[in-house]
């Protein structure tokens, strides 16, 4: 029996030593590999930087530069290019993009799309966004069908970069089917498109059934300040009982100055839900339509604190009358809540605006 235990202890100690040794080697190897990688990256930069910069400001053929860089150094090249692709624009960026579009790198990335490694696929999708051709857009549209979240997201962002707005309906349809995507995640991808998606989105509002997608669309239309969707949005505003939809629509109205939107806002200023009243006051403040001045002034007497404060904020610099009214409240020594709010808002605005 005793020898059995002794044996076990020896085994345990032995395993411990093996593990410790093994782990130690692991860590040091990882460290070494990373060290070499960093050195290689530095070496790559010091060797090729001037060539790349020189290329940017000359008429050198991009393929000439790319063909001189050995293939096993590509990963350093890509990570180096990313900084500049992100930070440059105009001629500099166009010239940089030529390094990908007009060289063998183009085929290189297209081939990588079919690799099994997800990491490589994502890298390829990321860099393909700099090649604006129909072929690439078609390829990316095909990868949209992939079930993986990361691939889907990166693809949508690449399509956004390429401004492939025609595919927006497909993206929304696919997003609806993917359970892991939520309202915010769909929005955060599609917001990277530009305003060219707005006409399609507006049209979609007429048939879309999903509240989440409608919300996403209204937020996008607000983001791009797309005035032509006003009719559809007013429609939603008056026929939907959903609070989130109403608030989002009101926010949109704050970006579009129009008689219809002013009338709608007047109506929602006295909605029964305080959040909606707050949104309406903010929207009125944005469009600054003085015909609503009385409606705003009265809101400082609203029973809800949030609404009162929002009204006071809007009254400041909204119109002569509203500002005078606000000052009147502020100078009232009664200590009532409206006077405290007015004092606070005026002080805060004056202190923070004064330079």
């Amino acid at each position: 029996m005793a020898t059995g235990y002794n044996f076990f202890i020896l085994i345990a100690l032995f395993i411990l030593l093996i593990f410790a040794y093994f782990f130690m080697t692991c860590v040091l190897t990882i460290r070494l590999i990373n060290h070499i990688r960093n050195k290689q990256q530095e070496k790559f930069i010091s060797k090729w930087q001037d060539h790349i910069f020189g290329y940017l400001y000359s008429n050198l053929n991009p393929q000439e530069l790319i063909s001189r860089i050995p293939k096993n150094k590509y990963k350093y090249l890509f990570s180096y290019l990313r900084t500049f692709l992100f930070n440059l624009k105009g001629d500099d960026l166009d010239r940089l993009k030529q390094l990908i579009t007009e060289t063998s790198l183009r085929e290189y990335f297209i081939n990588k799309l079919n690799k099994h490694s997800r990491k490589k696929q994502v890298e390829a999708i990321y860099f393909l966004r700099f090649i604006n051709t129909e072929e690439v857009v078609d390829l990316l549209v095909k990868t949209l069908k992939a079930p993986n979240e990361l691939i889907f997201r990166t693809t949508v962002e690449s399509l956004a970069y390429l401004s492939a707005y025609k595919n927006i309906n497909l993206i929304l349809d696919l997003s609806k089917k993917r359970k892991y995507l939520t309202k915010e995640s769909i929005l955060s991808m599609i917001i990277k498109f530009d305003q060219s998606i707005c006409p399609i989105l507006t049209k979609r509002l007429e048939t879309e059934k999903s509240t989440d997608i409608i919300l996403v669309i209204i937020t996008l239309l607000w983001h791009f300040k797309y005035a032509d969707a006003l009719k559809n949005i007013l429609n939603i505003l008056f026929y939907s009982g959903n609070k989130d939809l109403i608030i989002e629509s009101i926010r949109y109205l704050g970006e579009v100055e129009n008689l219809d939107s002013v009338n709608a806002l007047r109506f929602f200023l006295s909605h029964s839900k305080p959040e909606i009243r707050v949104a309406a006051i903010q929207a009125v403040g944005k469009i600054g339509d003085t015909s609503l001045e009385e409606n705003i002034i009265i809101k400082i007497l609203d029973p809800e604190l949030e609404v009162k404060i929002e009204a006071a904020k809007t009254m400041y610099k909204f119109s002569n009358k509203s500002e005078y009214k606000l000052l009147e409240y502020a100078n009232n020594p009664s200590g009532q809540i409206e006077s405290i709010i007015a004092k606070r808002i005026i002080m805060e605005k004056r202190i923070l605006e004064n330079d």
């Binding site: 005793a2 235990y5 395993i15 604190l305 002080m347 004064n354």
Partner: protein, 468 residues
Amino acid sequence: MIDIIRSIVQYFNYFILLYFLAIGSIYILLSFLSFYNLKRYLNNQAFKDLKDVFKLKKYKSISLIVPAYNEEAGIYTSILALLQLEYPEYKIIVVNDGSKDQTLNILKEKFDAVAVPYLPFDHIPTEKVNAVYICKNHKNLVIVDKQNGGKADAINVGINISDGDLIIVVDADSIIERDSLLKMSYPFVENENVIAVGGTVRIANGCQINKGYVTSVDLPKSWLAKFQVVEYIRAFMFGRNGFQIMDGILIISGAFSCFKRSELIKVNGFLKDCIGEDMEIIVRMHRLLRKENPKALISFIPDPVCWTEAPESTKILSRQRKRWQKGTIVSLMLHKQLLFNPRYRLLGMIVFPYFVFFEMFGPVIEAIGYIIFFISLIFGMVSLNFALVLLSAAILYGVVLSLLSVILEELTFRKYPRTLYLIELFVIAVLENFGYRQLTLWYRFIGSLEYFFGDRKWGHMEKKGFSS
């Protein structure tokens, strides 16, 4: 009679052996999950441009709440550093919780504060607010002075006053990485069901700190702090990352945590006068908000976003650990409905029970185990060999885990630049299992005893304040 005791002791010793085997196996399992989670996270991050947020009109507004109680030593530097974080727009709300020192005066003076009328928001009931100040030169800084009411109460005042979509609670002595707001807000941007996010905390002792930033990562000189370095790496690398996969983040470090404001108000803010209010709020959010929305998610990002000062004396360490243990017990006891509750899926069926058995009762079982074990050894009830087997099994597991966490660190974030540090971390990872672990276990055991038999009060941590 003796025979009966002898066999009970014998069985208890076997039970302890089993306990160690179980906890070790759980950790090994967790390490696989963590590895998977880390890999997934890093792959996700690789082609993301966090700075895109600066180009968009739509982003989550953030209010940083800094509760401050007797922080005169470091408050100015801390706030200066917080004013320089990378994010489009955010507000800092410093809540002076009735400090007895010069905290408020330093803030008022250094930041040119002007008192403004206080808007009496009362989403969450709190102690009285004395005054609110805004600052001419720092438009996003608000200073609040209130009656003393404890950390939870101070945070609640901050929540009432704030207006951001997200609330970040930061300890006044935490050092925050500059891009941490970008990283912490990302999970909320990607998924509206996320209600809270925690990040990885590291030990700042020994690091070079300049104007509230960690400029060079070094290891501390004190052995007690060194052990905590490895302990923190292990806890965050394994615990949080592993539980993340099971949607079971039960702890978010109070040193730096991020919440959706609307949800915080829904659960009525932090619990006043509660030991370990930072853990309690998370458990409560799980319990209340997942009932309402089964998709509600508490998330964790493995990035080291925050550096904190670790105690370098056993006196303060013991106080801290006792407090943590009591906090764990309080949080678990208050929300025991979660235990084996299938509605909360993996959280209710696996994570919560794990916390109850291994975190809450663990120290008691282990400590009693050690005691009985030595007694039985002295009285010859177990053989020396059995004793050695038990000890070596426990220590073996510990060493393997500590070493694994150092490897994971090296695979992912590589915060320790010098190879010499790496070797030192390794040595610490092994040595940690001979003494330090037993020491913290003992503190937690005492903490448990104190909880069950009376003394439930807070231990205050002494602050040194970072040099500027």
